[in-house]
């Protein structure tokens, strides 16, 4: 992932940048900064759901927001309700897996990730009956679908218990080739990254 002079403003308020950042294969980068410093906004620019006001972002050589770039990205943004609340966690994961893979592979992928993260009891429940922490674990599972080359996690440990945090990091450790952008406030998470990038409020 390569972000070149990325700046994002809302009206006259500059929220991010200008920022230059490269994330290489296997590199874990902590995005650090107080609330409102633009970490989530930057992740959205890389995910392609927000266009930078100036500058450019490329993922695997493809401009952010293109189908090819999005295929390389697994993302968990800070939207706790970004699931179909009336459906089970498993049904939700399967919907998103099928947007990336054929049905057979999607089913296998979901089953593997659910088992890997130890979230079978959560995945079996309807999402509207899950706690915030449970939904956050589903969001991590969704980000891992389709074997992304770049994983972007926005405060993924915020509501997790210690065991769930350990499982999250174990899942990342099992994917040493994956580049990770990890927005966080926690020292424990920052310590597990290769480097940290400070976001200052503009």
């Amino acid at each position: 992932m390569s972000a070149c002079d990325v700046m994002r403003a809302f009206g006259k308020r500059r929220v991010v940048g200008p920022l230059n950042l490269d994330a290489h294969r296997g590199e874990r980068i902590a995005l650090v900064g107080p609330n409102g410093s633009g970490k989530s906004t930057f992740l959205r620019c890389v995910a392609g759901t927000l266009t930078p006001s100036t500058g450019s972002v490329h993922v695997g050589g493809h401009p952010a927001g293109t189908r090819q770039a999005r295929r390389l990205i697994g993302v968990s943004l800070s939207q706790e309700r970004s699931f179909y609340l009336r459906l089970s966690g498993y049904a939700n994961l399967l919907v998103f897996a099928q947007l990336r893979e054929p049905i057979g592979r999607a089913r296998a992928d979901v089953a593997e990730i659910v088992e890997e993260l130890g979230i079978a009891p959560i995945a079996a429940q309807r999402v509207d009956r899950c706690s915030t922490g449970m939904v956050q674990q589903l969001a991590l599972a969704r980000a891992l679908l389709g074997a992304p080359a770049l994983l972007m996690l926005d405060e993924p440990t915020r509501s997790l218990d210690t065991a769930a945090i350990d499982r999250l990091w174990a899942a990342i450790d099992r994917r040493p080739e994956v580049a990770v952008l990890f927005a966080t406030h926690r020292d424990h998470d920052i310590a597990r990254c290769d480097r940290a990038v400070d976001f200052e409020p503009s």
Binding site: G48, S82, V95
Partner: protein, 271 residues
């Protein structure tokens, strides 16, 4: 190329299946919705009885006012599903944040639009057939002169055409957020202009002329032509298909532009 196409088909199927699962989870609402459609027919059944003997205008070959209105009511349901339901769906996705997660996946805006429109379209066409069947069984609607091929072609092309209108409205909602009034207003206008429950001959001349520019007029003509056999269903169906193709291209283009707009303005998730 084939695998890419197959992946796109999987994505469409996933979105349609998701909507079916969500709709099924609201069982009471699903049943009420189906019952409401039948009650609607029942109203026109009794209105038709009150208007006996035949009213003095050409009813597009329909043997009774009830038979005439049935086609209109059933198609109005398809139109409503293709527009109001889709518009509501897009707004819900926008509010909950699922829309942003969908946009972050490797699917193109037209696929997303078609995926969002897929279930409302299929469900509405299925409901239309169900209501016609119920009207036949319980309310004496005759199918003696019906061309079933014509009916399928007319309903499906009407569904696609109406879905195209729905996708355009969804694009407007993405940009302007509040579309609560817009979609129902479009439904009412198109239903009235097209001649859903009264023949267009009773409209003032200029409105009758305007109705030729609406897909609903051809949809009603095609369905009534197929149902009653008094005139051809092929010509209005072909015009309707033309509307559907052009409308779909325009709708998908507008939806793509709307998503780009929301990404540029940071409003994909805005309340």
């Amino acid at each position: 190329m084939t695998s890419e196409l197959s992946l796109r088909a999987h994505a469409l199927r996933a979105l349609i299946r998701r909507d079916w699962l969500v709709a099924r989870s609201y069982r009471t609402s699903l049943v009420t919705d189906l019952v409401f459609g039948f009650l609607n027919l029942l109203i026109y059944y009794f209105v038709a009885r009150a208007l006996r003997p035949r009213i003095g205008v050409n009813l597009d070959g329909a043997p009774s006012y009830f038979a005439f209105a049935t086609a209109g009511v059933v198609l109005a349901l398809v139109l409503q599903a293709g527009t109001v339901v889709l518009a509501r769906r897009v707004r819900e996705e926008q509010l909950t944040g699922t829309l942003e997660m969908l946009v972050a996946q490797p699917i193109d805006p037209p696929e997303l639009a078609l995926g969002l429109a897929g279930f409302p379209f299929l469900f509405a066409v299925g409901r239309a057939f169900l209501y016609l069947l119920l009207a036949g069984v319980f309310l004496g609607l005759s199918f003696a002169h019906t061309s079933w091929v014509g009916l399928v072609v007319a309903l499906c092309s009407a569904g696609v055409g109406f879905a195209a209108i729905g996708i355009s409205i969804a694009a407007i909602i993405l940009v302007f957020k509040r579309g609560d009034v817009l979609a129902p207003a479009v439904v009412v206008a198109l239903t009235l202009l097209g001649g859903a429950v009264f023949p267009t001959q009773v409209l003032p001349g200029w409105l009758d002329a305007l109705s030729y520019a609406t897909p609903t007029r051809y949809a009603f003509e095609a369905v009534r032509g197929a149902q009653f056999g008094a005139h051809s269903w092929i010509v209005p169906s072909l015009i309707l298909i033309g509307f559907a193709v052009v409308g779909l291209a325009v709708g998908l283009y507008l939806f793509t532009l709307a998503l780009r707009y929301t990404a540029r303005h940071g409003t994909l998730n805005q309340y």
